[in-house]
């Protein structure tokens, strides 16, 4: 069974007198342990798709199911624990410490400080950011900032991680490490749905799709994923 299933999802926005179509009749399934990457140009609907998949926004039409349950009904219970959402930029005060940032979601759920700190360390290690634990958020490099944001989402042990352009603002050397980290998360069964404006960042994904004019193209279900490469360069 799919962990996440979008069926016939459409979304429109009003911009002044105009109506802009962000998504048109989008179908997408993501299974446990899959890394699915969606590529699209600016204003292609990438962020809208991910926000709807995470339950942050609701579609105008169509359905979104997470673990078999309609997301619109279970939204508050699912976001954070079942689904971890990683924003483009880490929202935090410059003086905040990294560890404070990562423990915050657990403390907000009434977890004891000791247990929260232990879980935060584990999440930072999983995201490859344990060296940043004692650093202030304002001192992080772009790549470290992404890893801390990933740790903050992972601390609640979500089954699905949704990451909006995780490697957008990082340098080339850090980019490869972050993409490798996303693949690593899937080894224990965590599903990852991420977006990118750079098609080369889709290499190594289990499935790659493109989004343009609100339409999602490519293997929208795991069964339809192409298994034979077009050609291999010599």
């Amino acid at each position: 069974m799919s962990l996440l299933a979008l069926e016939h999802v459409s979304k429109h926005y009003r911009e002044g007198q105009r109506e802009r179509t962000a998504l048109t009749d989008v179908d997408l399934e993501v299974r446990a342990g899959e890394l699915v990457v969606v590529y699209g140009l600016r204003r292609s609907g990438r962020t809208t798709l991910l926000r709807i998949a995470a339950g942050i926004e609701t579609p105008d039409a169509g359905s979104v199911r997470f673990a078999g349950e309609e997301l619109a009904r279970a939204r508050r219970a699912v976001l954070g624990e079942g689904i971890g959402y990683v924003r483009k930029a880490l929202r935090a005060s410059e003086e905040d410490g990294v560890l404070e940032q990562v423990v915050a979601p657990l403390l907000a759920r009434g977890v004891s400080v000791e247990h929260a700190r232990k879980a935060a360390w584990a999440a930072l290690e999983r995201a490859g950011a344990e060296r940043c634990a004692a650093v202030a958020v304002g001192e992080l490099s772009a790549g470290e900032s992404v890893r801390v944001a990933l740790a903050r989402a992972l601390v609640l042990s979500p089954a699905l991680l949704v990451a909006d352009e995780p490697a957008a603002a990082v340098g080339l050397s850090e980019r490869d490490g972050i993409l490798a980290q996303l693949r690593e998360f899937t080894r224990d069964g965590t599903a990852v749905l991420s977006s990118t404006a750079e098609p080369s960042e889709m290499a190594g994904a289990h499935r790659a799709l493109t989004l343009g004019e609100g339409r999602l193209r490519g293997p929208s279900t795991p069964q339809l994923a192409p298994v034979v490469a077009l050609r291999r360069s010599v």
Binding site: Y39, L41, R175, D176, G177, L179, A180, R183, E198, P199, S200, M202, A203, G204, A205, H206, R207, A208, L209, T210, G212, E213, R217, G218, P219, A225, P226, V227, V228, A229, L230, R231, R232, S233, V234
Partner: protein, 215 residues
């Protein structure tokens, strides 16, 4: 045509080494089109060796990208390279035992190989232009052009997913450096194709006549 080619091949490979028939000399002047021959020459340039080792190295290096029809394919390819004076037998090897003759590249072989590599870049561009012209021919039927672009995009996505991600371990039969270069070349070229598909689709749609009833 095929009969002539077969006759030239028969003469070339049946003639004793060093006899050098007129047909073999004529064949040596003609451009060498075989990708296997060029690929094998690349391996000899990389490291002089004998036929069996070259066949093994060929399989490891060009895994999934190029295939030998059989081990004897290497012997015919080496004979061609030798006739064209692109390789030569290394002195001091056991010339009486065919399988233990070791070969090295000649200066001419190294120079022609470099020239061929550069030519392949132009050939790739030429093929790409031919493909685009074919897509342009479909523009009068926009749905077909879009369908062709969709199929091309699917193939590119499949290739991108199959490409080893940057920073991953090397694949079988390739050195770490070559694996990294292949990985990055695949990612960058397929990425450019995917961007181009989006552009081409927008252009085809912009040229399509509006559908009846649409604003």
């Amino acid at each position: 045509m095929d009969k002539d080619r077969a006759r030239v091949n028969w003469l070339r490979y049946s003639a004793p080494m060093g006899v050098g028939s007129a047909q073999a000399r004529a064949a040596a002047v003609a451009p060498m089109h075989s990708l296997v021959n060029w690929a094998l020459l690349g391996l000899v340039i990389e490291r002089p060796s004998y036929a069996y080792e070259l066949a093994r190295r060929f399989e490891r290096t060009y895994d999934q990208a190029l295939a030998l029809s059989s081990v004897s394919h290497v012997y015919t390819a080496l004979a061609t390279l030798r006739e064209r004076e692109l390789i030569e037998e290394m002195p001091g090897t056991l010339a009486s035992v065919r399988s233990r003759r070791a070969y090295r590249a000649t200066e001419r072989g190294v120079a022609e190989h470099a020239e061929w590599v550069v030519g392949q870049v132009l050939e790739e561009r030429r093929r790409q232009r031919v493909l685009i012209v074919q897509l342009g021919a479909l523009a009068k039927a926009p749905e077909r052009a879009i369908a062709a672009l969709d199929a091309y995009e699917q193939a590119c996505l499949g290739e991108m997913v199959a490409a080893p991600p940057a920073g991953s371990d090397e694949g079988p039969g390739t050195t770490r450096l070559v694996a990294r270069l292949i990985s990055e070349e695949t990612r960058l070229t397929v990425a450019a194709k995917l961007r181009w598909v989006q552009y081409a689709r927008a252009q085809v749609q912009a040229q399509s006549p509006p559908r009846p009833g649409s604003a």
